[in-house]
């Protein structure tokens, strides 16, 4: 299959596929006589792995690691588990941080709502 077909089946732009190849997240496919990339179903699977992992928020480095684990025939489930665990940790931390942020923002915003003074109290607070 050609790159545009792969792109359609994986929901990932042509440019992104070429980019993944350039950074080593997808192995280079064989080329047709005219230089066009020709992909197999194997490629599609690997691209799915990359796309889904990225959708889950895994950074490229860890996707690379995941690929290495997956290529290993004895695919170490434990390693995958650990990798996912640490990512869950990161996501949970980020959620906590954002909740904290949300609170601060709402508090700041509320100063605007009840302010009668000429100057904006929220801006005053930020510049203090």
């Amino acid at each position: 299959m050609r790159i545009s077909e792969l792109s359609r089946t994986c929901g990932c732009s042509v440019e992104t596929i070429r980019y993944y190849e350039s950074v080593g997240l997808l192995s280079a496919p064989r080329r047709a006589a005219n230089g066009y990339r020709v992909y197999s179903d194997e490629h599609r699977k690997w691209l799915q792995l990359v796309r889904r992992s990225r959708d889950l928020g895994l950074p490229q480095d860890e996707v690379r690691l995941l690929i290495k684990i997956a290529r290993d025939e004895s695919a170490a489930c434990e390693d995958v588990y650990r990798l996912l665990s640490s990512h869950v940790q990161r996501v949970s931390t980020r959620i906590r941080e954002l909740k904290q942020l949300e609170k601060s923002l709402i508090r700041l915003q509320s100063r605007c709502a009840d302010g009668r003074s000429k100057k904006c109290p929220a801006i005053d607070e930020l510049m203090k």
Copy 2:
């Protein structure tokens, strides 16, 4: 005050201050005879506004907007309120997304935990 002092009082690196100046988030200060930047307390306040806004996650464009509003003597509180509101929306949305993500990750991870098969079921799922 010189740039390093400003840096210390605002908890923001010297490089970042110069960067803010270069992208128009902080107005250029006067220069001493030797070319060094010389800041006033006014500058400190504006830098605080930028730093605090960024800490709240506002993108540069919106900080720029906030500065414009703040410079306006009739600092339109309503505009600030609207700006903060839309940002709170964004943050809330992001929190929801991350929670969803966290769930997916934990689900995926659990497949690793109870898998007895030779191949890692999480990786299998990602490549499907």
